[in-house]
Structures are given as structure tokens and as C-alpha cells.
Amino acid sequence: MKLLKPSWVNHNGKPIFSVDIHPDGTKFATGGQGEDSGKVVIWNMAPVLREEDEKNENIPKLLCQMDNHLACVNCVRWSNNGLYLASGGDDKLVMVWKRAAFIGPSTVFGSSSKLANVEQWRCVMILRNHTGDVMDVAWSPHDVWLASCSVDNTIAIWNARKFPEIVMTLKGHTGLVKGLTWDPVGKYIASQADDHSLKVWRTMDWQLETNITKPFSECGGTTHVLRLSWSPDGQYLVSAHAMNNSGPTAQIIERDGWKTNMDFVGHRKAVTVVKFNPKIFKKKQKNGSTPKPSCPYCCCAVGSKDRSLSVWLTSLKRPLVVIHDLFDKSIMDITWTLNGLGLLVCSMDGTVAFLDFSQDELGDPLNEEEKNAIHQNIYGKSLAIMMGSQLSSTIIENPEMLKYQQERQGNQNPNGAQASGPENQTPKLTNVLNGESLEDIRKNLLKKQVETRTADGRRRITPLCIAQLDTGDFSPALFNSVPILPGSSASTQLIPQISSDSSTANSLGLRPSHDPTSTSPNKTAEDNKDSGTAAVNSIGMKSNLLLTSASKIEPMKALDSRFTERSKATPGVTSVLHDNRVKDSSSVKEPKGKDETSSDSEDKIVVKSMTKRKGEMEGAEVVEKRKKGRPRKDTPVSLEKEPSRLTTPVALLKLPTPSIQKSFSTQVSTDGVTYLEVENEVSVVSGSRLSQLKWSREGREWDTLLPSRIIIATGSSDVVAVACEDRTLSVFTACGRRLIPSIMLPAPMSALHCSGHFVMALTASATLSVWDVQKQTALVKNESLNPILSGTEATVSQSFLTRQGVAVVSLSNGKTYCFNSSLETWNLIADKQDSLVQCTDFRSCVSSQDALGSMGPLALTQGRNLSAGRLASRLSSTPHHLQQGMTLAFLEKQLASALILLSASEYRHWLLIYARFLVNEGYELRLRELCQDLLGPVHKSSSSSWETTVLGLRKRDLLTEVLPVIGQNLRFQRLFTEYQDQLELLRLK
């Protein structure tokens, strides 16, 4: 074993609370106290490992330091994939850092260290939830979650793929939570707190698995951290500070039954940190000796407040090595290199130590395969979460799959930034410099920058946006570069320029009227402005300075204090400022159109006029527009003339009928603007009143006369249907030819719809009929709405007919039904109160190009409702498995509904979402059934009832679309291959 204390790894003497080695072993991060903030530093590992690198001045030691945390950093942890660094600190925040590739060396402005950052790590996410100091953070296996624990007694589980989404807040500890560790298998997370307990939580439902208190009952809350650790084989959990017979120990907890029979003894003070070696070892086989079968074992490092470090092998009864007096203060954190042979320890005294072991000392590390084999032996296949990193080691078994995977990767690369995961959060960088070099911009910045005057005479500068978030194409040249010294002439020229600016603002009349009681400095400033000279302005600002003598203080010291003392708010300035902000912003002339506030007003106007127009359009389409003319009085004469109407039993009239109007017009069929105009009682011929129906489309028109007053007129591109007061229904072709003699209805018409060749009639006695007037057949014959209306107070709020002739009826209670003519049943297709909808979450399965496919009758009935459900799923924290089940049920319902509505495009849309969901969540059986149905029998047999198409879509074509979705998950590669081959076979036939 070699021991090294690299003195150059320090926070200028301030304590280092955490250390973590990057998974690739090239760098490590430290976290702790900085000069005026918390501090995270990323160091180069090479100078620690090799002496020649340490001496080589060309090899940087410090790679990056970040002082964004406002207070001490308690924990730094790399994600398992090495892309992110998470840090938690006393400022109650967790920050997630990502390396920015494009920015050159920079320093932290104002920091005393003049060392340039070699690597640029930037905070891409700030996670705010904790109400107290964050003590520990931990990434779950495969980086699915990030856990953080805090002195607010809670543990937050963050969704690492959708920061800053919180999956769950684990509550239950009654003391400061000071350490976290994930089960390497991913089934549990364990936490240790000052409340004398260690709790194990299930990741399945985030409930408490076990609460271990016995070994901790004697413990006092004296340690800063309690970093516990789980062994790499998952079998043992080792706690920090525990007590056994009044002696400090590290308690070993067995996974099997959470037994607490063993502990690591020997430290004289509380154990602060335990860290398992990531490798599992087996006995080193010496050359020549007979290979003895030996049990694999784990290795564990224990650090304590007694400033000593012990390293243990689970195969030995005594520690492998104990190092005393390694530090002056308590050990705070330990991290192993990924190869398991190196170890970094940090201490409150602000130093770190590196231990280098040889394989002779620790043993032969098992490779990943052997380690996986152990996991599989113990936990079986099902427990291991199949995620990216594991899948990468899965062998692709067939060239088709390989080709597909390669294509997919190729497609992903150009827009890699849009890949899932936290990268998503990073806004794309855009260069707004228009090819101008930064130096050019800097030279002219003062002249170019837009400066205006606010209404109260204050200068307002619009800053030049030189890079949008994030990582930026920002030229490194800016930092620490020698300032360009503009000639003094340039600066003097500026003054008139500004004043002319302000005077134009004045002349434009943008200055709002002022409260005469505004404070004097502002008033002075205003007066100055009125006189048009900006230069005098500053006097106004100065007028509030008071001149009084003060006690003598030593100048330098007095100056020093000035750097940190907060200035008092300038009285009267800010308040006036807010009042005038809005008006002021509209006066800013922004050349780049980046000014949101100024463009806002314009936008609003545009939007307003747009919506107005839209409203009119809709009105024309849907609402029957009342034309001029006297409001018609209901004449008793007409009633006398049609005594038949009176025979209609009033009790049966469940649905409202539209009132008769003297005249109205409607717009029908969207392709080619077609108008229907109705004028009742146009003329009286031999005692009977005639009504006129007028049809017009793009200049062509026809009209026809009807013997009774028209209640409803509607039409499609193919037919026109008219319901009259005498309960007759007349149907005409688009050219005005009568198709069938008047149909006598059993009751007055309530609603009438046409779509294609289909006519749907909803009568006042709540019966539904649908006819295909071309084939002259009835699809639905006088079907009663009783099944859906009975037992509810609801009435029909909306009804329509799909292009395929399916009648859809929405009720006022939020339920929507359609009538299926083959089953002769009413089917519920949408329900606004459906709890399934509220909790579904399939956003991840919707791709952008799907948006078009989702248009159709199904979307029409449930459209807004659906998005509300998506929102609800984000608000409520439903356990994952429950949500999964609900989503599955919902998607299957959607698919069935689309099928019954005969809506092909929607069926395809939901089929693909359903397939993606099955693939994502790993429902193999359902996937197989789906594929089987789409593929059908390979060999034709007469007994087979398999239809080759569904809603006019060829099933095998659908399968060709579904297969690439399946191919996205390597886990289903067998399924993919199986159906790909069969499809290929059928294609050859």
C-alpha cells in the first residue's frame, strides 16, 4: 500500500467535506467551504496517481472550481455515467453540473485564485425543495433517480431524467438525515439520521421497508455526516456511527432479514463515513499453487472522527490496514477508484489523502460479467433494472437489429442535444452575434448599446445579449483580456447622443403623467430631463447626499468594510421605478426583436384580432345565424293547421327541439364554402304556406320549396337534409334532387347531422336513427337513448356524426357515447370524470409527428380533457406501478374507442403510442399478442377468421410501423427478429 497526501488538493485551508472520484477515473471532485461561498472543485487525477505528472507543470491539477453554492458544500457525487455532478450544500440547494464543451478557460470573477479553469462545468439544474442544509446526495444505479437528504428530516427523490421533477419525498425520520446509499440492485435506498435510526425504503412504492434503531440507541448526534454504504453484491449494508457496548462501531446489516449481528469495531470515536469498494474480489491465485475454490469477498473503508481510517475485507476478521493520525480533524468522506485499488479520503482539516493498494493486498477484482453473475445468482434476472448501461453489454443477435440500432444512433446524433435526460433541460445555444467578432462588438459596445430614459428620467440600458443559454459559443477571449481603451473622444461624444435619445422619447409622448408628490431627487431628475440635458442628471442623484462629519477611522480599514457593506436602498427610487416600468418598456426600441416587453403589446393586438376572426368563422359554421326580420310570433293558426303535432305525447319529449325561425342560414361542409339559407313562409299558395330552401356553393346555387316550415337544415358535401315542422325529413343530393320521399319521424326533430352519405336524426323523444342515403339502408333504426339517459339528470349536450357514419352523443354529465350498429350497443368513449384519464402518463410515448394523427372524432370528444389528465399526472404523485397500470388501461380503452368510432387515423395514432408504452414499460405478453394480431396467420387456412385490414388499414403495414418501435428496446430483440422475419417471408410470397 502506498500513501500520499497531495498538498495541492486544498480549499485554501478551509474544510473539505466531500470527495468523489469520477467514474472514468481521470478526475475527482471535492466540496466544502470556499472563501465567501460554498466551493466545488474538480481536480485532475493524473497528478495524484503519477509523480511525474505531478511535477510536470504542463499538466493541470485544478480543472474547474465553482463557487455558485452560497454556503458550504456538504456532498459532491458523480452520476454513474459520469456526465453529471451533483452537489448539495448548506444553502439548501442541490445543483447538478454538466461539462460545457465550448467555453475556453475562465476564472471565477473576483476570486482571489487566478488559476484559470481548464474544464468548464456549469450548473444546469438547481433543485430546490429542502428547507434545510443538504447533507448527502446519491445517484441511483443507472442514474434513474437522484436522492438528497437534509437536516429538514426529509429525503427527496428527484427524477434524474426530468429534473426538477420530484418523484417522492421520503418522510419519517425525526432527526437530521445525514447519509444516503442506494442498494446496488436498485430495490432499496437506505438513510441514516440523527434520530438514532437507519431506515431502508423500497424504491417500488417508496414506503419504509425496515427501521433499524437498536444499534443506534446509544448514539449522540455528534457527527457532521453519517455516510453509510451498501456492499457491491447488495448483501450487506454498513452504517456509519453505531454503538456496541458503549464503543463506537460501524454496524453491518444483512439484507436477509435486516439482521444486525456483526459490526466493525475498533475506532475510538464515532464513525462518520463507510464506503464499500465498488469491486468484488476473490483470492489472488499464486503461480504454481493449486487453485482453491474461494468465496468472493468485499472490501470496505471506514473513516472516523478519531481521525483514523480502517480498511476491511469481509473475508478477514481483522482490518486489512488501520492508519492513525492521517489528519488533524475528522474524516469526512471516502471514495474508491472504479478499479477498486485506489482510495481518496478527505478531512475537515482541509486535506485529502490517497491510498494506493496492489492486487496482492486486496485480491483479484471480479470483472463486470462475474459481478453480474453474482447478482443474477442472488436476485434473479427480474430484479435487475434493464437500463441503458446494462443493455449496452447485451449482445445484438441479428444483423437486422444491428442495422436498425445503427440507423437509430445515426438519427440521434445530429440532434443529440434533444436526447432524453437532463440534457433536455439545457436550452440550445444560439449565436446572436451575426458573425461579428466579440472584439468588434466590445469596441463599439458603448456607442451601440441601446440606452433610453425611463419616465422618471433614469437611464435604462438594454444589455447586449452575447450568448443565450447554455454552454455558449462564447469566446474565451473576453475573460481576463486587456480592456480595450476607447479614445476619450469617443466617450465624450456619447453624451449628446444619449440626450438626443431621451428627447426623442420625450417628444413621442411616452412619458406618463407623474404623481406630483414624488420624491425630490426624482423630481429634480425630471426637471433636468425636460431641459434636455442628460449630463445634469447626476446632480439630481447626488442631491440626496448628506454632508456631515464622522468619527476618525483608519482609512484602509474603513475602505475594506465598504466592500462588503450593503448599501441602503435609495429612497423613493425603486417605488417610482416599478410604477413606470411597463410604460417605459414600450418605448425601448429593440433592434433584435428580443425585447419581450416591447413586442408584447403588438402581439396581444394581433392575437385579439385573430381570435375575433376565428370566433366569427366558427359562428358561421356552427351557430345558425339569425337574419334580420321581425321576431316571429307563434301563431295559433299554424297549430290548428297541424293537429298531428298535438298527438305527440308530451311525456316522451326528452330532448329539446329548436324553435322555428322565420329565416336562418347555415354553413355546411368545409370543402368549398356551402351555405344553406332557409326562409319560412315565403309565399302562400292556395292556403298553404311554402318554405324555401336555398343552397349555394361558390356561385352555384339551387333552391327548392317545401310545404311545411323548416326547423333544421343541414348538409354535407354529398347530401342536404331538412327537417320540417310536420315531422318530416327530406333528403336532397348536393344538386338539389330529392333522394327519397319525405321520411315520417316518430317525434319532432331535436338534432340533425349529415356526414358524407350518412344522415343522423335525433328526435325529441330521444331516439336515434342513422341512414345511409346512398345505399338506402338504415344503420341505426329508431334506437332509444334510454340506456344512456336513464338514471341521470343529464341531457344531450352535443351530438355529431363521424365521416364513417357513427353517431356520437355527448351528455351534459361529461360522458360521451357512440352507437355501435353491429353490436347494437351504446359504448362509452369518453368520460370527463374518468379517474383513469386523470392519472395516465404516456407523454414519453408521444412523438412530435404524432400530433396530426390525433385529430378525429375521438379527440373531438375528449380533447381538452385528455391534456388535463396529463397535467394531473404531473401534479399528483401516484406510485409508478399504479400509474403504469392506469396508463395501460387508458391506452387500451383509447384503442378500442378509436376502433368502434371507425376512426382509422386515430386508431393508428393510439396503436403506436400503445406500442411505445408497452415497449418502454416492458409488457412482453401484450406486445406479442399485438404483433400476432397484426401479423395474422402466415399460412392461409379457410378456417381462419383473421381480417387483413382494420378500419381500412392493412394490419401488416401497421406491424411494419410498430416493429421499429419494438426495436428500440434491445430487450425485445427476439420479438423484433421473430416478426421481422415472418413479415419478410410474407412479403416474398
Partner: protein, 197 residues
């Protein structure tokens, strides 16, 4: 964490005659779109002895500030010589750049300023009444002192208590007598455990 990070301040036109305007080229980065303007101020410390000789040379509003990296030049007139105590005109003083958001100061950047006569004759025998036309102002641009304050960036909450707005750490130029050490977290800690100043 602060929504606005100052990345760099370049001191332009330095050194320069005393009467020249101050020019600072300020580069800052904003994490998210700010609904309100930032207010920047240049404060000239007229005398080390009292704050009352401070002059706010100018204050500007900067906005709108969308998320991203921005820069602007802040120019302000030279201090009013009439307000500077004669004994403090020559020698070392301080110029401060402060930035406030919603009336709360979140960063304070300080520079030492050395006012000197360029003429060796005047330097040897400085006149009792300072001759400002002969004075040269030299800002120690390489050594900014940056102090950050924790403020409430959101509009919804009331302004934070002043007691919370304590300097998060001692200044580097102070004698290191009260370096913060991590207090053992017993019970509830104050919001800012670094209040040891």
C-alpha cells in the same frame, strides 16, 4: 443561488484624468428571464472616514434581461469634487459597483482607486487645495473585491428579513480572525450559519 452571475467587469479608460467619466464593461449571465430590470450603481467613496461622503455617480436600469449572457458598458460622470473632503482627494479610495434586483442588493464589486498627481513636482509638494485637473485616477482593475448577497429573487414572497441578508462570508481583506468553521449541526441552525461577523 443567484439568478444573475457577474462574469467579468473590464475597467475601460484606465488610468485616466480625474475628470473623465468612469467606464465599466460588465458581462453577466442570467439563469432565467427576469421580469424586472436590474439596477446598477456606481458609488464613489469620497472619504474612507464616513459613508456620508459617498457619491452615487449614476444609477442605471438594465433590462430587459432574458436568460443568457449579456454585456453592457456602464458610464458615469466623475465625482463631484465639491463633495470630496480636501484631505481625501489624493490617495487611495474605493469605487463600488452594486447591482440590485427588486430593491435588494445581491452583488457588490469594489475596486481600489489611487488618485495621484502625474507631475512629480506636484507629487512632492501637493497643494493644500487639491488640483483636480492634474490628478490622475488609477483603478486597481486587476484586483476586484466581489461580495455576493443572498436575496429573494421571486416576487411572490415578501422581502427577506434583513437579518438574513448577511454577508455569507467574511471578506478576504479582513484579518482572518473570524474564519468560519462548520458549527456542529445541533438542532435547528440559523438560516445562514456564517453569521460570525
Amino acid at each position: 443561488m443567484a439568478k444573475v452571475q457577474v462574469l467579468n467587469v473590464a475597467v475601460l479608460d484606465n488610468p485616466s484624468p480625474f475628470g473623465n467619466p468612469f467606464q465599466f464593461e460588465i458581462t453577466f449571465e442570467c439563469m432565467e428571464d427576469l421580469p424586472e430590470d436590474l439596477e446598477w450603481k456606481i458609488i464613489y467613496v469620497g472619504s474612507a472616514e464616513s459613508e456620508e461622503y459617498d457619491q452615487v455617480l449614476d444609477s442605471v436600469l438594465v433590462g430587459p434581461v432574458p436568460a443568457g449572457r449579456h454585456m453592457f458598458v456602464f458610464q458615469a460622470d466623475a465625482p463631484n469634487t465639491g463633495l470630496i473632503p480636501e484631505s481625501d482627494a489624493v490617495g487611495v479610495t474605493v469605487v463600488l459597483i452594486t447591482c440590485t434586483y427588486r430593491g435588494q442588493e445581491f452583488i457588490r464589486i469594489g475596486y481600489y482607486v489611487n488618485n495621484e498627481y502625474t507631475d512629480p513636482e506636484l507629487r512632492e509638494n501637493p497643494p493644500v487645495k487639491p488640483n483636480y485637473t492634474q490628478l490622475q485616477r488609477n483603478i486597481l482593475a486587476s484586483n476586484p473585491r466581489v461580495t455576493r448577497f443572498h436575496i429573494n429573487w421571486e416576487a411572490t414572497l415578501d422581502k427577506m428579513e434583513d437579518s438574513e441578508n448577511v454577508d455569507p462570508a467574511p471578506n478576504t481583506m479582513l484579518p482572518p480572525t473570524s474564519m468560519p468553521s462548520k458549527a456542529p449541526p445541533l438542532g435547528l441552525m440559523p438560516d445562514n450559519s456564517m453569521d460570525c461577523l
